[in-house]
Amino acid sequence: MTEYYTRMGDGKRVLMTKEAIMADIQAGTADAADMAEIPALTSADMEKLFEIISDKNRIVGVEPGKEVVLTYDIGQLDFTGDNGNSGNGVDMGRLEAALLHERALGADTFELAHADYSIKPVKPIIANEMQTMEEIQAEIIAPYFYGAMPNMGLYYAPDGPYGNPADLMREFKIEESMASSEAAAEHLARDIEFVGTRIIAAGADGFNFDTTGSAGDADCVGTLNGVKALREACPDAYINVGMAGESVMGIHGSIEFEGQVVAGLYPHQQVKVAQKAGANVFGPVCNTNTSKSLAWNLARAVTFIKACTDVAEIPCHVNMGMGVGGIPMCETAPIDAVTRCNKAMVEIANVDGI
């Protein structure tokens, strides 16, 4: 019986038969469909996904004419960062990193980033970031954003002024926990407006919000309120709202954005609140299960993202880093897996970018 080289969600190479791959595709799409109450992939989609996964070539690609835009996150940190960001540990200036991405790596957009890649630590050094933005904008041609994670965890004790909701809940202080989340969300929204308006004033094309909702539903609401304020202050700014996961974690449980409870929202619902807040582009996410195969993970991810692009009124640039979008969760994502995920997201999920 013919077997095909493919991958597990942790990146390990495995051999699977067509029957095993198809079974995982069916199980992956069924899992997403059941979780989000969205359509599963059609038989034709699943057959196409099998063809992509079982392709004998080491790398695959989209058909000419189907290329999409690549929006980059994390800025120069993919060169300068450590292995926590799959960074190479190559120290270099931010101008050099930006121009290398533009002129050597085929980036359609790029961004400036703080070493911590979070909103909060940018505040005290905003003048430095504005100066660097002005300098790089003078030289770069491609759209050049400022990028950061909302990362509301930094606003909780011991790093921030607000009580840690998880600690408070363990003490059965539920109302205090919710109040702490709400206060932190308001603080985050103020900081987004502070940092965002200043960096746009320095000439940034826009702002890329990476891993929205990573600290739960209040993080998501704080970010959306920050985006709304930034949109009102800077009507022409390019705003990309990228998410942290396929479902918003309900740590608060009932916090709302514009009357919508955000806990438990899936990509096809998340995109609607992002649009309402003022995003130009939405970055849906589906996290990878390392114990499942590439076929299972990719089918599941494509199902979530296809349902999202079907209803989106704005372009969707799916997150395709290490451990998202079907890509294995490892520092050195194998290129056979990465390129298969790209092709499936473009040709089956109909994304506008990556």
Partner: protein
């Protein structure tokens, strides 16, 4: 990750017209198909050709909108973006700020 992404599905930024399509997605909320058609029409070529490095290398130099290889005297940075503003009929924030600094 940059290399496999570009090779599998990317437009290639200023190697072709990826930066221009990105600007239309972000500035006008255009989906990728509409953005490509808009850019192709402005460039006077097909939507297939706007991702063709061979065609776009010469065209970008001719239109003075920035080239991926270093050509002395050919606009890059703000100068190239000012030409992109005219080509795509959009405003670019950094160009607006630059103009605001002039007397």
């Amino acid at each position: 990750m940059a290399v496999p992404h570009y090779m599998a599905s990317g437009m290639g930024g200023i190697r072709s017209a990826g930066d221009l399509v990105a600007r239309m997605e972000y500035s006008k909320n255009m989906k990728v198909g509409e953005a490509k058609e808009y850019v192709a029409k402005k460039l006077g070529i097909s939507t297939l050709d706007i991702a063709d490095e061979f065609i776009m290398r010469e065209l970008r130099e001719e239109l003075r909108i920035g080239t991926v290889t270093a050509v002395p005297g050919v606009p890059r940075g703000i100068a190239a973006k000012m030409n992109i503003e005219k080509l795509l009929d959009i405003k670019i924030n950094s160009c607006e700020k630059f103009r605001g600094m002039l007397n």
